[in-house]
């Protein structure tokens, strides 16, 4: 009687599957939300800024101001949504959030350029979304600076030609340029960064929640007592309860990864074997945590709220959307206690950088430690509960 009986474990697993899949709505709700979440996240979680809507307020109306406009349109970064003619109108458009920014060219702009005086282009940016705002401000000032450099070159050329004896001296002026090499994500699509992260998050939340709620449900509706009077032992019950969700978790990883590759065409440079191996390691943590929450909750609502309370900081500190590097130092240390952080790094490394165990082993060790610790804590608590 001391060794766990596989027959009893199998029975529990069978019961668990039957209970989960008995309800037609549950069958749908087990696999649809992850894919739906992936789709919404994939399309909506996007920090790229292209085609920002701006207002164009040209008070100068000269060929020079039109040149600047052509540069803005030619950059393919901006869409001129409104062409107000007064400053109040510009202010109103920004206040109502109809545009993300506005360019104002004051009267005398063209004249100043013709006379070789320094002049300015005013760029107003709605800062309420600081991220978008700093990107827009960057784009706009680069375009204006580019136009300025062009004007300067022309003025110079005119001056030099007049002065030099043997033709233009312009050739002797150094130019400095910059080439960028962008690795792993050359088009800088934020989708490539977010979608793998979404895979990690969905797996975490879904398996955590399902495990926690499935066990508490038995307590809440009173079937736990019935289980306790059967010859099944705590350890067997625990295995029987978690293994189905481990399996469901693996199916979800497959489903969501496939959807990510097919729908979002996210590059996948690494090995599927590494991804699934790490997913298993990570599932140990989420199932263990789900089990733990179930031992400290009486009702499904408690289980759900507790899961949510813990998951939220884990999710936010994982580096999913907010780079860990930007956090205050104390918070950066806190992220080392966040298992999602390690899985996030693994998933992104495997998808985008194609790195393998040789680079990712520290993260894998961390996940294994988390998994074993939380699983054994919950196992011991689970036992006490039942005895």
């Amino acid at each position: 009687m001391n060794s766990p009986s596989f027959r009893r474990i199998r029975e529990i697993i069978r019961k668990e599957f039957r209970q989960t899949f008995r309800e037609p709505r549950m069958r749908v709700l087990l696999f649809m939300p992850p894919v739906l979440q992936l789709i919404i996240f994939g399309y909506a979680a996007n920090l790229d800024v292209d085609n920002s809507r701006i207002a164009w307020c040209d008070l100068d109306r000269t060929s020079q101001s039109r040149d600047v406009l052509a540069d803005f349109i030619g950059s393919n970064r901006f869409e001129i949504a409104y062409t107000p003619t007064t400053g109040t109108e510009v202010q109103r458009l920004l206040d109502a959030g109809r545009v993300q920014g506005a360019v104002v060219i004051l009267p005398g702009f063209g004249r100043d350029i013709l006379h070789g005086r320094t002049t300015a282009v005013q760029v107003l940016v709605d800062g309420s979304n600081s991220n978008t705002a700093s990107i827009i401000a960057n784009y706009a000032s680069n375009i204006v600076a580019g136009y300025g450099a062009q004007v300067m070159n022309q003025q110079n050329l005119d001056k030099m030609v007049g002065r030099a004896v043997n033709g233009p001296v312009h050739a002797g002026i150094p130019r400095l340029g910059m080439q960028n090499r962008i690795w792993f994500n050359p088009d800088l699509r934020s989708r490539n960064y977010f979608v793998p992260g979404v895979v990690a998050n969905i797996i975490a939340l879904v398996t955590l929640m399902l495990t926690a709620m499935a066990i508490v449900r038995e307590k809440e509706i009173g079937t736990m007592e019935q289980l306790m009077v059967t010859p099944i032992r705590p350890f067997e019950l625990m295995l029987g309860k978690t293994l189905p969700f481990a399996l469901i978790g693996i199916v979800q990883v497959t489903l969501v990864t496939t959807a990510a590759l097919l729908l979002f065409k996210v590059p996948f440079h690494g090995s599927f074997l590494v991804l699934f191996g790490c997913a298993l390691l990570f599932l140990m943590t989420t199932l263990g945590a789900g089990l733990f929450i179930s031992t400290i909750s009486r009702t499904q609502q408690q289980a759900m709220l507790t899961t949510f309370l813990f998951f939220q900081p884990f999710f936010l500190l994982s580096g999913f959307a907010f780079p860990i590097r930007n956090m205050p130092v104390v918070a950066q240390y806190l992220t080392y206690l966040d298992p999602v952080r390690y899985f996030m790094e693994i998933v992104r490394g495997v998808f985008l950088k194609g790195v393998g165990v040789e680079i990712l082993w520290p993260q894998m060790v961390a996940l294994a430690i988390f998994g074993v610790t939380i699983l054994s804590i919950s196992a011991s608590r689970f036992r006490k509960k039942l005895d």
């Binding site: 760029v123 990107i135 960057n138 204006v144 408690q302 709220l305 949510f308 907010f322 930007n326």
Partner: protein
């Protein structure tokens, strides 16, 4: 519609909440945790980008160029390396995000007045950080290029060059470009949705699951009374969460508040009422807590988090998703919140959004009552 019966249901709900202190504490702690996260730890602002320098040239000229990067607060030059291998390795490990490579003939080209190119390597996997870093690097190089040109002109006796056109950028509403200033106001919408999705959506489902719904239905209670009674309890919770968010946001995390408090409270009530009615509607339809939770997450929390403009701006989404955001009430509420907090906008500017919230609240209330009546019958 009897006020006494409504009050009786409300009392029962309050007792339910008070009897389960943990759920109550979590409902109040969640906004606190999220505020702390967004107010203190999380930011999208990019500075001190860790970088390596590979100075192939090694001359005073190349060092002068690198000093431009070192002087900028956006870059953190950590180390000088002498080939590409360490760059490769550290980028793979995500220890650095950027490398600046100065080619061998840099100083010769500059001194002889030819074209010189430097190379900037960026880890693009975090595209947002990378594109902001790229913008800063371009800025540094462009400014230095103009300086070099001007110096060369002076050496040739042509007189100093003047900048022809100056981009004068002014950032409105959030002039120090802090991401917490736009995220914390939006949090109010998100926490209210948590109350709706995680608490309200379970309330009727639990009565079904534990078998207390039938006794409740056999009482003379009318559907509207059940709904309003259940709502009162959660409404109070939501209001406390609103207070926590506003007070902590403004006084602890120094988020600017430029609009009218009354308008904020009014629009929050409208939104909260609609959101809670939606929670009840889900709960009436679902009958099982797990299913109610799944639907609640998908239909209220996730849209409020993702499709409302809370963090990710709607303007950047593909057209289909943008169309969907128009039926997400949180979208209108987040616009109102940002308007009230950052722009000091009032009901004149936000009339459209307020009207939508009103219509939504009324519509969902009637739907919920109707569904509840069907269940009663």
């Amino acid at each position: 519609m009897s006020f006494r019966r409504w009050r009786a249901v409300a009392r029962k709900e309050f007792l339910h909440i008070l009897r389960d202190p943990r759920s109550l504490i979590i409902a109040l702690a969640l906004p606190l945790v999220m505020l702390l996260m967004f107010g203190w730890a999380l930011t999208l602002d990019v500075d001190r980008i860790p970088a390596y320098v590979y100075d192939w040239d090694g001359t005073p000229e190349s060092r002068a160029l690198i000093d431009q990067f070192r002087a900028s607060r956006y870059f953190d030059v950590q180390k000088y390396v002498h080939d590409y291998a360490p760059i490769d390795k550290e980028v793979d490990r995500s220890h650095i995000l950027m490398a600046i490579v100065v080619p061998k003939d840099y100083s010769r080209n500059i001194l002889e007045g030819r074209e010189a190119d430097i190379q900037v390597i960026l880890d693009g996997s975090d595209s947002n950080t990378a594109s902001i870093a790229l913008g800063y690097a371009q800025g540094v190089v462009a400014t230095y290029a103009a300086e070099l040109r001007s110096e060369a002109q002076v050496r040739r006796g042509a007189g100093k060059l003047k900048v022809a056109v100056d981009p004068r950028v002014r950032v409105l509403y959030n002039s120090d470009l802090k991401s917490k200033n736009f995220i914390v106001p939006g949090l109010i919408a998100v926490t209210m949705m948590i109350i709706a999705a995680l608490l309200t959506s379970l309330t009727v489902a639990r009565e079904w699951e534990t078998g207390t719904m039938e006794p409740l239905l056999s009482t003379p209670l009318r559907p509207a009374e059940i709904i309003l009674g259940k709502l009162s309890a959660f409404f109070t919770l939501g209001f406390v969460d609103l207070l926590i968010c506003v007070l902590l946001g403004v006084f602890v995390f120094n988020v600017p508040f430029r609009g009218s408090v009354w308008f904020l409270v009014f629009s929050s009530f409208l939104f909260l009422f609609g959101a809670l009615c939606w929670g009840i509607l889900i709960s009436t339809l679902a009958r099982s807590q797990l299913i109610a939770y799944q639907i609640g997450m998908l239909s209220s929390f996730l849209p409020a988090f993702l499709l409302s403009g809370f963090i990710y701006s709607i303007e950047n989404m593909p057209i289909v998703i943008r169309a969907i955001t128009y039926v997400v009430p949180a979208r209108y509420f987040v616009t109102i919140l940002k308007g009230v907090f950052l722009k000091g906008a009032g009901i004149q500017i936000l009339a459209l959004e307020t009207t939508f919230l009103f219509v939504y609240a009324v519509l969902v209330f009637f739907l919920a009552t109707k569904k509840m009546r069907q269940k009663v019958a």
